[in-house]
């Protein structure tokens, strides 16, 4: 599916990915984590890929084996590999904590696998999520 890269598209995107999760027979607890990772990836694309202009994100999924879902989120915006971002310092007290910067940590922690590639002007982030972990 292809949607405008903005927060208002999230609901439809999550419904689409949820269908994939059902096809992969992921347990409900894992589907919540999947939705969280997808939101982080899509919002990352919205904020970093298209900082000035409107753009679109394309989401596709497949079920490689039962209990396993693969989702690719692609955009044609500015090249950005979230997997190389500096990890946040979680030991800082509230006063010194930055307001943002936790989304990439969440996606890296909750996904079973995450890979990024830049291909012919596209950012392509592929998320693997399995029932077990």
């Amino acid at each position: 599916m292809t949607m405008a890269a903005k927060a208002a598209s999230l609901k439809a995107i999550l419904e689409f990915v949820r269908k994939g999760a059902m096809e992969a027979s992921l347990p409900e607890s894992r589907i919540g984590e999947l939705e969280l990772v997808i939101e982080e990836i899509v919002m990352n694309a919205c904020n970093h890929a298209y900082p000035d202009d409107a753009g679109v994100v394309t989401i596709t999924y497949s079920v490689p084996t039962p209990g396993e879902l693969s989702v690719e989120v692609a955009d044609q915006g500015v090249e950005f590999n979230p997997l190389t971002a500096e990890p946040p310092d979680l030991t800082l007290d509230l006063g010194r904590r930055p307001i943002g910067g936790l989304g990439i940590l969440l996606m890296k922690t909750l996904a079973t696998s995450l890979t990024y590639r830049r291909e012919c002007g596209w950012n392509r982030l592929t998320l693997g999520i399995s029932a077990g972990s």
């Binding site: 939101e39 943002g100 989304g103």
Partner: protein
């Protein structure tokens, strides 16, 4: 609490702060989902309250929401309580 709903929480909290409130208790017992946009709103509101000598007190974390607070270390950053009552009394 996602990219769409988090700004509403922040707006309502800031409206309370503008009216003179210096501490807020947030009961998350019925919350089943929070993304980094929700966390961003909590951190922002908590910083504002701390600057006014108060605090954002969070209670009744469960499931995925608790997991998210643990992953991000915010479980140690915010004052966290088991119940609304203890949050109201707390610190």
């Amino acid at each position: 609490m996602d990219a769409e709903s988090a700004p509403q929480f922040e707006q309502k909290s800031n409206a309370c702060i503008e009216e003179g409130v210096t501490s807020l208790v947030v009961d998350l017992g019925a919350l089943t989902y929070i993304s980094s946009m929700g966390l961003r709103s909590f951190i922002s509101v908590a910083k504002t309250l701390q600057d006014k000598g108060g605090a954002l007190r969070i209670c009744r974390l469960t499931g995925l929401v608790k997991q998210v607070f643990e992953i991000t270390g915010l479980i140690s950053t915010f004052p966290i309580y088991e119940s609304v009552e203890s949050a109201l009394i707390g610190g």
